[in-house]
Amino acid sequence: MSTPNSFKTGPDERGLFGIFGGRFVAETLMPLILDLEREWGAAKPDPAFWEEFNMLARDYVGRPSPLYLAERLTEELGGAKIYFKRDELNHTGAHKINNCLGQILLARRMGKTRIIAETGAGQHGVATATVCALFGLPCTVYMGATDVERQAPNVFRMRLLGAEIVPVTSGSGTLKDAMNEALRDWVTNVEDTFYIIGTAAGPHPYPAMVRDFQSVIGTEAKEQIMEREGRLPDSLVACIGGGSNALGLFHPFLDDTDVRIIGVEAGGLGLDGEDHAASLTGGLPGVLHGNRTYLLQDPDGQIIEGHSISAGLDYPGIGPEHSWLRDIGRVEYVYAKDDEALEAFQLCCRTEGIIPALEPAHALAHVAKIAPELPKDHIMIMNMCGRGDKDIFTVAKHLGFDMSDVMGETTQ
């Protein structure tokens, strides 16, 4: 494959990154998708649009998020100098709000009066419910019934914020099924409804649009590291569910080809079985949810449910731009398993006083693997894209900690 002059020009006018992406949707949705593409095309170069976005990003979300040198972690690992891009400090506790803010401003611009979203871990659902409360728009969130159970605190948060939560029992009752159900809602309520997709996937223009909203992460990180170190980092590391926090960090650096870029998928129980969510390492190109991308699937083209300890990573697909970046070799994709993420989760709590979400704990697990072998002047930025409050019950369960026995007298 030949190397393009720039890695940042995609997608083309058909929404393609190489062979990936596109608009594989039912005819009912096609006019809406084209409408959205037109509106986004008009908003993107409009300074007034970004003025409002930037104002809210600053005053409501709390941007820019700090770039923090994790000194004790760096010392503990004994190699590369590790920085965290602290998007876990955003309002609502994850990077998801960056995208929701952008999309709701677009929804308002288009005169839409009802918002729908899908959610896995509940972080995107919370972020969507939050911006809906901010603008006084009714919000319906589709969430797999399995996820409703394992992410109860976020379900309650969304309800407090005024959203209606619809538990999805079809299929296997997780993120992909929630996305199917949101698409069914959208097909039914085409006139007034805007669908805020939570990751850099779905039909064109969503993957590019979500990336553009999340790119605030990488744009800030680049400025901050230049200020701090006077040079670009040597490597970037981020976790990958659908791929939005990772693309947000990576995209502004794609043409800085000396920067090594690593995406970390969820390896679940390992790649020998089916219990993982590593679409790029363990999947094949296919078509789902409006785009062609790497998917976990069986030989008949049926989609296989992803598994991860982290509800935000168990999507069986991945944003199409990542599929392209993988095939073209610009980004390396690796995976971290459940137990490695749990280990990293605790390491971060202990050494940095930061309780990370289980999603970035996967990125951290990989950092912990490679940092010790790297020289001390190697600068690495990891996207700390979410905080772990939502995950403490899951982690407690895996560590065999009895929550009703908080002093831990009977365990450990």
Partner: protein, 271 residues
């Protein structure tokens, strides 16, 4: 190139009636039962058959067809098995047009050229692939046209006049008008809206217009058949299968007859 579909509509025109199109999911609730239903459909009044190809993520389908797909998958249905079923069906029926309906991924994974050759050999006449709008015609539509397979397009209430020429290009056999904005098996079609929509489509194409989504009763079959060239029923038939399963999901005795009798009642709507 005239196809079984063209011949069928020409024949019905001389009879002066609309076509009745019935949909079932292949492999629902299992391959043998499904094949028995399929074979009985023409005598139950189905002028054209749509055979669903199961997919784990049927994003344009309502609960009835979602469950049908899950039953089929559970019984081990695959795309090759669906093609086998068509081949069996063709052994005693050389005339009834048969259309495969589903989603793109299983076809993509099977391989487009390999699929078209196998489908053609098995006796498939047309394809309806929900997630392939005209924007993605290079994927399957153009290759299908090249081998003389009808690629049937969906037009919907959101397809405006600016879009219609694109939607009607590269299509043949008939045009499938989706009578509601929504998924299969949900709302009921509104007669007046359908009438207007069919009239509008007729200004843009000479192809027959079939109308589906939200048609559940013989009366609706009749009413839609009075303004369109075909009435399509899917979810209502599939629900009859669901209603005739035992607790373990196995077909109760009499399931095939129950489904075919129900289909026969529906088909009276166009007769």
């Amino acid at each position: 190139m005239t196809t079984r579909i063209d011949n069928k509509f020409a024949q019905l025109k001389t009879e002066g009636r609309a076509a009745f199109v019935s949909y079932i999911m292949s492999g629902d609730p299992d391959m043998d039962t499904s094949l028995a239903i399929l074979k009985g459909l023409p005598s139950a009044g189905a002028d054209i058959i749509e055979l669903g190809m199961c997919f784990t993520d049927p994003m344009a389908d309502g609960v009835a067809i979602q469950l049908a797909a899950q039953r089929a998958l559970k019984s081990g249905q695959t795309l090759p098995k669906t093609l086998e079923m068509v081949q069996e069906f063709r052994k005693d029926d050389a005339d009834t047009p048969l259309i495969l309906m589903g989603y793109y991924n299983p076809i993509y994974i099977f391989g487009v050229d390999r699929f078209l050759a196998a489908a053609k050999a098995a006796g498939v006449d047309g394809l309806i692939v929900v997630d392939l709008p005209p924007e993605e015609d290079d994927e399957l539509c153009i290759p299908a046209n090249k081998v003389g397979m009808n690629f049937i397009r969906l037009a919907t209430p959101t397809t405006d006049e600016a879009r219609l020429p694109a939607v009607l290009s590269n299509t043949s056999g008939f045009v499938y008008y989706v009578s509601i904005t929504g998924i299969t098996g949900a709302a009921s079609a509104n007669q007046k809206n359908v009438e207007d929509a069919v009239a509008r489509l007729k200004r843009f194409t000479d192809l027959p217009i079939a109308v589906g989504f939200g048609i559940n009763t013989p009366e609706q079959v009749r009413d839609i058949g009075s303004v369109a060239d075909a009435s399509v029923v899917g979810s209502a038939i599939v629900r009859q299968i669901e209603n005739n399963l035992d607790e373990a999901g196995r077909p109760k005795p009499g399931l095939v007859d129950a489904v075919l009798n129900f289909t026969k009642t529906l088909s009276q709507g166009v007769r």
